[in-house]
Assembly symmetry: C2
Homo-oligomer: 206 residues x 2
DNA sequence: GCACTTAGTTAACGCTGTTAAGTATAAGAA
DNA sequence: TTCTTATACTTAACAGCGTTAACTAAGTGC
């Protein structure tokens, strides 16, 4: 049997937890199978008993991150005091998630794993759930007309994309060092919200 | 002397052109020193006579891309018929550049090269030039008040970030396949522009 | 003719992800 | 109890990676 003396929980979990630790603390580049093996006290090939490839391991990590993000987004919606407020809250929370967990965020949204074309469908569903939280918040805030003003998938994707752009550039240290980040993100969120034209009085145009 | 029979132009140029070809046609992952060497008919180590490292080669590629982008952005501004139009044109052009050259765009803005912290200052300057084109367009369109409504660096960065988010997600194939991309990008650009609140009466758009 | 520079080479180091084959150990069947 | 099979894991190796050290051949200046 296993009885590698230390394994109360499954090796799969041990691998995942160690991998997450490496990624979170030292970034994706530091994650190698041999190093991971040394950490968990098994040979590198043992990892392949639980994950088809390094990418598969990464995908599992992404799924965990998606769940974590989902929890934070839904909590943010729950905390909101109005439908309109919920959209702002969910945007703010998304940004904060990215800034709080840059390495996680990088793996989840910025990495370009080799085999991503043949990505397990389940992961897409998990990522989709997060987009749906945004979409639902927008729909609630838009009032009863529902999808009158264009399909909400486009709206939600646009909101997501705009927030993602700001987060990913900051994480990759591509923005000017002298940039005031609070002002930057406030502007991004305000701009994103104003692009939605939610409240009626702001609908002077269109 | 060199006289590797084929070299009219310098080996440095040959390396750069071949590297760009690989990246553009098959993506960054396909670019390896040994493969590049085989392409140009020299040994892999010869590349190190002209570039300090693979990252340095990549940086040179990024600079070329930045110049190309700069040319397109300034041309777009020149084509515009009004200051307000110029902002929209430059946004459109930026998006088109990304969609026209996804592999190039990936190397330029989505990759996270190892040694990027110690990036040659010249590259930053080249990247900054492109941000300045956006910033200048915004400033011109904002009228004479100049920087009254917040520093233009934040404004330009925000515009850039929002466009970048949309482009990078599409390139990484992270957006829903059923998404109408034209509608998506139109919404991104409109949202970005409305976030600038340039002049209220001219915003009778869309 | 000798030193020096230039442009290129080969061989190797220490990594990487991954696979094939082998080894104990436990469980189930005869 | 013995035979068989499955489980959990290992070692050794493959092919490839970026990079370096050491070398060679050819041209240049004195």
């Amino acid at each position: 049997m296993s009885n590698h003396s230390e394994s109360e929980k499954s090796l799969r979990r041990l691998i995942l937890d160690s991998a997450r630790k490496v990624v979170v603390e030292e970034g994706y580049a530091a994650l190698t199978m041999r190093r991971l093996a040394k950490m968990i006290g098994y040979s590198a090939t043992s990892i392949y008993l639980h994950f088809e490839s390094k990418d598969a391991l990464l995908h599992a990590l992404i799924e965990e991150g998606m769940d974590l993000l989902h929890a934070r987004l839904t909590e943010a919606v729950a905390r909101a005091e109005s439908d309109a407020d919920a959209v702002r809250m969910v945007c703010r929370e998304y940004v904060d998630f990215g800034l709080d967990n840059p390495e996680y965020y990088e793996v989840m949204f910025m990495l370009h794993p080799q085999r991503m074309e043949r990505f397990p469908a389940g992961k897409y569903r998990r990522a989709r759930r997060n987009l749906d939280v945004i979409g639902q918040a927008i729909r609630s805030a838009s009032g009863s007309d529902g999808d009158a003003d264009g399909p909400s998938l486009v709206k939600a994707s646009a909101v997501w994309a705009q927030l993602h752009g700001a987060i990913s550039l900051v994480i990759a240290q591509r923005v000017d060092a002298s940039l005031d980040r609070d002002e930057f993100f406030n502007r991004i969120i305000d701009g994103t919200l104003s692009g939605l034209k939610l409240n009626a009085e702001a609908e002077a145009q269109r």
